[in-house]
């Protein structure tokens, strides 16, 4: 493995990698840069933007227009809540599929996954009517329920692939040691699967955070998350690049930071059993 890689080759590769990484990241970088510009500067040609002066003004404007923190808090509650509940429901299911597989297990898994293929727009009205009747419109609980169900198949699948890596022996050992089913799951399986559960949590928080259809359609004011916050900027009047950039930066920053910090965790988990 460790044959010498010539420094030149390494340098060339580094250069290529950095250029490509920069290009991929550029749209985000550019958004962040523009958010610190005045509207007038924001539409200048790229080079001039860098030399013009910087300010936080757009952020103040955005905060004044729409209460960022309320939206942010709703996003946190909804994405975290839906994922946690999904985990609680999914862990037993994944346990069953991974450790007591039957002939149907794989079909059940695939069926669950296929429920994700249902186009949301096609069922909005039925869901809307139900939500109205149950008083769930514009409530966080309602959104938590919907997003939880939306992501449940993915959560189950991810957990299933992790659990399968855990040797059956250990659970049997726990059984021999007198553990009941619930202590087996609580004291042995779950702690062992912590890395897997963490990355499942992360991925699904990201998915829930970014989900824009249901969150937009089922909320008004009280439960509106950041996706609704952004919807107020999708075509504002006049010059708006800086404001749009500021709003965008605010909307993606939390998840971007979370994602970066937990990058290793996420990467390890993101394989869906694709890698053995």
């Amino acid at each position: 493995m460790a044959r010498k890689v010539s420094t030149r080759r390494k340098a060339i590769m580094t250069a290529i990698a950095w250029v490509i990484a920069f290009l991929i990241f550029f749209p985000i970088l550019w958004t962040i840069i523009l958010s610190f510009k005045s509207e007038g500067d924001a539409i200048k040609s790229p080079l001039q933007v860098l030399t013009s002066h910087w300010s936080f003004e757009s952020y103040f404007v955005v905060q004044e227009r729409s209460d960022y923190f309320r939206h942010f808090w709703n996003s946190v509650v909804i994405s975290l809540g839906s994922t946690l509940i999904a985990l609680v429901i999914a862990i037993p299911a994944a346990w069953a599929m991974a450790f007591v597989p039957g002939k149907r297990t794989k079909d059940v898994l695939m069926w669950m996954l296929s429920t994700k293929m249902m186009p949301a727009v096609g069922v909005l009205v039925p869901i809307y009517l139900m939500f109205r009747d149950w008083g769930l419109l514009d409530t966080r609980i309602g959104l938590v329920a919907v997003l939880c169900l939306m992501n449940l198949p993915i959560v189950i699948w991810m957990l299933y692939t992790y659990f399968k890596e855990i040797p059956n022996d250990i659970l049997e050992a726990a059984r021999m040691d007198g553990a009941t089913l619930s202590s087996e799951i609580l004291y042995v399986l779950t702690p062992m699967a912590v890395p897997g559960i963490a990355s499942t949590l992360l991925l699904n928080v990201i998915l829930a955070w970014n989900e824009a259809f249901w969150t937009l359609n089922l909320t008004a004011a009280k439960a509106a998350p950041l996706t609704a916050f952004i919807a107020a900027y999708s075509s504002p009047e006049g010059l708006f690049y800086a404001k749009l950039s500021a709003a965008s930066t605010l909307a993606i920053a939390p998840i971007l930071i979370l994602g970066w910090f937990s990058q290793k965790q996420l990467v390890r988990g993101l394989t869906f059993g694709a890698v053995k």
Partner: protein, 290 residues
């Protein structure tokens, strides 16, 4: 493998998920199915009633229908192609010894965290905009007339935006897969006289096949419901040039508030999606065994 007691427990443990998902699927779908045979426009209450297959007839004969079908395929296929091929190349690159690997990785992964609405807005306004977009500035700088991406090549533009968002996902999975390749296998191939290209085609690529199928499966699920990007950038236009099936259903049910027609469209979309699903599941199912 298991005792009767544990099998019973398993059934108990799995049932909440199954029941919830069954309800989640069956109830709205049942209602949708019911609506699809009704004349039901939100804006015209009191005009209801059974209409038979009318809604289906109108949806299927909608001139936009075939365009939408084609666009859906173009979008899903295009994004898959870009992300899988790009992902493999990128994974190969990131697998090299480079300085600052951690930072490069962080940069590459970033688009995955961006909300679809935001990324569509950013691309539309800051990049594709033919007057103020960066591409326009670049074109101007080198003396070319600006190209109006969203009007002249709407599907390509949307595909690019979506591919940008999903490229990190594909890259990450493929990179992990690549790194899981037994280094002895590569060394064996090297001993056998395989050059870099042969090693790639004969050893790495087949090894990546499994990861690639998973990438394809997961992405297809999400890509079939691509919506925000289209709504924000082109509104399905110009004409129907970027209307996908999902968007068409959206137009029916939420722009025209024709719940009946939308429901029929939804049912058709579900059927088509399930055809794709069965096909995909076959593929992945086989891979899950291995």
């Amino acid at each position: 493998m298991s005792t009767q007691a544990s099998r019973a427990a398993a059934r108990l443990m799995i049932s909440p998920s199954v029941i919830l998902l069954l309800l989640w699927m069956a109830v709205p779908l049942g209602m949708t199915l019911w609506f699809s045979f009704q004349r039901y426009n939100l804006l015209m209450p009191g005009q209801g009633g059974f209409t038979g297959w009318d809604n289906y007839y109108y949806f299927l004969t909608d001139p936009a229908f075939f365009t939408a079908l084609k666009n859906t395929l173009v979008l899903v296929g295009g994004v898959l192609l870009i992300t899988v091929v790009g992902g493999i190349l990128l994974a190969l690159l990131l697998d090299q010894q480079i300085f600052g690997q951690g930072i490069v990785r962080v940069l590459v992964i970033a688009p995955f965290f961006v909300m679809p609405t935001v990324s569509a807005l950013v691309w539309k306004n800051m990049f594709f905009n033919p007057v103020n977009g960066i591409f326009a500035h670049i074109a101007q700088a080198i003396g070319l007339p600006p190209f109006d991406f969203l009007a002249q090549a709407p599907m390509l533009s949307i595909t690019l935006i979506v591919a940008w968002q999903w490229l990190p996902f594909a890259t990450l999975i493929l990179l992990t897969a690549l790194q899981s390749l037994d280094s002895e296998q590569l060394e064996a191939a090297e001993m056998d006289g395989a050059g870099a290209f042969s090693r790639f085609f004969y050893i790495m690529l087949p090894h990546l096949a499994r990861a690639a199928t998973v990438v394809i499966l997961i992405q297809t699920i999400f890509l079939l419901s691509t919506f925000a990007e289209i709504l924000v950038t082109t509104n399905g236009g110009p004409g129907n040039a970027s209307t996908t099936l999902t968007y068409l259903v959206y137009v029916q049910s939420l722009l025209q508030f024709d719940v009946g027609g939308g429901a029929a469209g939804g049912i058709i979309a579900v059927i088509l999606a399930n055809i794709v699903a069965i096909f995909l599941m076959r593929m992945i199912g086989k891979n899950l065994e291995a």
